[in-house]
Symmetry: C2
Subunit: 348 residues, 2 copies
């Protein structure tokens, strides 16, 4: 029987797929180090195989390309959902941050709500900390946004946000909190050429309407939350980082902690955005209550220039953004680490 | 751009996959009516297509077989997890029972716990009814078990248990309750030949140990539950129906409602089981507190003989099992309907 994926104790991953008739099989490895799709090699029984690594501990998405068809691993039930497709996911243990350890665990709920802004049902994921379901305490709320092409499932299935919070809370490095993971896309998303039905659809305004009119009120009504500014945080990665700034500046007195991972403002022209938000940028009361405005981006990240420009814009308007440059690029390896550094700073 | 699956208003489903190099593509349609895998037809652009139906409203699992490789739909993010693999899933709307309607929704949590019985982390799914997360009420608990080869995700992703409960509760046909969905397998499951690593592994005792020592105590500690017999129910389908009887008879004074869907006792020799459980079968106090012992199986189900034999065994020992024969076979179409009939009878 074909076993795949197989993770060795030295953190190598072996991928296998039975495809006797295929001409070529490649691994689309997402964050797995190595450039582009890598070929697998076929044995006499028609099983294709590739070993990669050693890799850093963490979660890795992948699919097989079998003669041009994207195929999740037929031998593994572990998946991670994006906006338009689903990936296989393999977890390589060895991380104090993201391993499933023997500590008290929170619960991750899939929550369906009606969006009056969009006129249709929507879904979010909600992490409640250990003890929530039996207790009566109220908790601060951290809104955590995914990146372009992903879904409200992504911060869990590949981002390991639940295990990261479990581990930080158990070590008393983070306060117990509710983490709300919205669905950042409001339609199908694609990177194809314009007119071919594959145009990027960031739909920032639709998402923002849904967030402000429906999602956040739903959370504040249906969960035991501390509903003041000092107990409300928001952060996001890539597209979600852009949405984070938009939402935080639309409600400048609402969020005390704002985190931007591998991103900056997403508007094409920062000067236009600056003019449109003159009033909010000058609001001193809003600035005083902002306990943290944090930007973190990897040195190899293609969004580094946009990150720097956005940091400079906020500095110019007397904000005190904290900017940290890490190693690496636009990867979940970084985003898990960024969450691990951001969450401990919240609600202090 | 290839669209798949496409559901028409007359409840037909069109499946499409771009696979220009493939020699043959077939649909493995699970519960979709029709015998065995059905071939798709290729067009000039290399897109294979098949339309099925009209089908009954409900959720259908499927994969494509592309030259012998099982492939989930590359154009759809909707999946359903089994024990060893993941399926694509398509929902055909039009059911008052299982549609995602504009009613108050419960939440479905993925919950990780430590199994002392198995010495490793395990996962369950927990449905909490509308209002649970903000309220203080205690609720009855219904344990709902999946069938062989499936996972704790299956009653949600294809069984639609959350939407079924949402709809029944909104219509005041069912009492608000917590529904706990355990993982019924404790190891990899397969139907292959003995010795080839593919032997069926029902691992009933391992599961039962985990259920009794860890899962149920975890639920009763971490959730606001009404922890007396009249507020505790258990049901399961196929293998889960066998596990249901085993657990209920191992703790004959613990469950007031017991439901067996498309199943009976799973032990090879019913006479042996009868002898081993003489004491429990004779326990009159246990019998008196049992408000419902229900068996439901379709007329075309291969487990009908086993269902009938098990019903007769309980009758012989002065139990009053309710037996209902429905149309259809061993399908999720039936199991969703059975849940829709069983849940309203609970906790009355």
């Amino acid at each position: 029987m074909v076993v795949s994926p197989e993770v060795s104790s030295d953190r190598r991953i072996t991928f296998r797929i039975l495809a006797p008739k295929a001409e070529a099989v490649r691994l689309n490895g997402g964050d797995i180090p190595g450039n582009g799709p890598r070929p697998l090699t076929k044995n006499d029984e028609g099983v294709w195989e590739l070993t990669v690594g050693p890799v850093d501990a963490g979660a890795y998405r992948y699919t097989f390309d079998v003669d041009g068809v994207a195929v999740i691993d037929p031998r593994s039930p572990s998946t991670s959902e994006s906006n338009n497709n689903t990936w296989s996911v393999v977890y390589v243990p060895g991380s104090d941050l993201s391993d499933n350890k023997d500590v008290p665990h929170g619960a991750v709920a899939s929550v369906h709500y009606t969006s009056t802004a969009l006129g249709r049902p929507r879904r979010m994921h909600v992490y409640t900390p250990p003890g929530y379901e039996s207790g009566q305490d109220k908790y601060p709320v951290f809104y955590l946004l995914h990146g372009a092409s992903d879904s409200d499932d992504s911060w869990i299935s590949v981002g390991r946000a639940n295990f990261i919070l479990d581990n930080l809370i158990a070590a008393e490095k983070a306060k117990p909190m509710i983490v709300v993971m919205p669905a950042g896309h409001t339609a199908s998303f694609g990177f194809g050429p314009p007119g071919a039905g594959g145009r990027p659809n960031f739909a920032a305004n639709e998402f923002q309407d849904d967030f402000l009119k429906d999602l956040r009120p739903y959370v504040e009504k249906h969960y035991r939350v501390l509903a003041d500014r000092s107990n409300r945080a928001i952060a996001g990665l890539s597209m979600g980082g852009g949405q984070t700034i938009s939402i935080a500046m639309e409600r400048p007195a609402d969020f005390a902690y704002v985190g931007v991972f591998s991103s900056g403002l997403f508007q094409r022209n920062l000067g236009d955005w600056e003019k449109e938000h003159e009033a909010q940028l000058a609001d001193s009361a809003a600035k005083e209550g902002l306990k943290l405005l944090s930007f973190t981006t990897g040195s190899e990240d293609f969004l580094m220039p946009r990150t720097r420009d956005t940091v400079e814009l906020f500095k110019k308007h007397d904000y005190k953004p904290v900017f940290k440059e890490t190693s690496g690029g636009h990867t979940w390896l970084n985003w898990r680490a960024y969450l691990g550094e951001f969450a401990p700073q919240l609600f202090r």
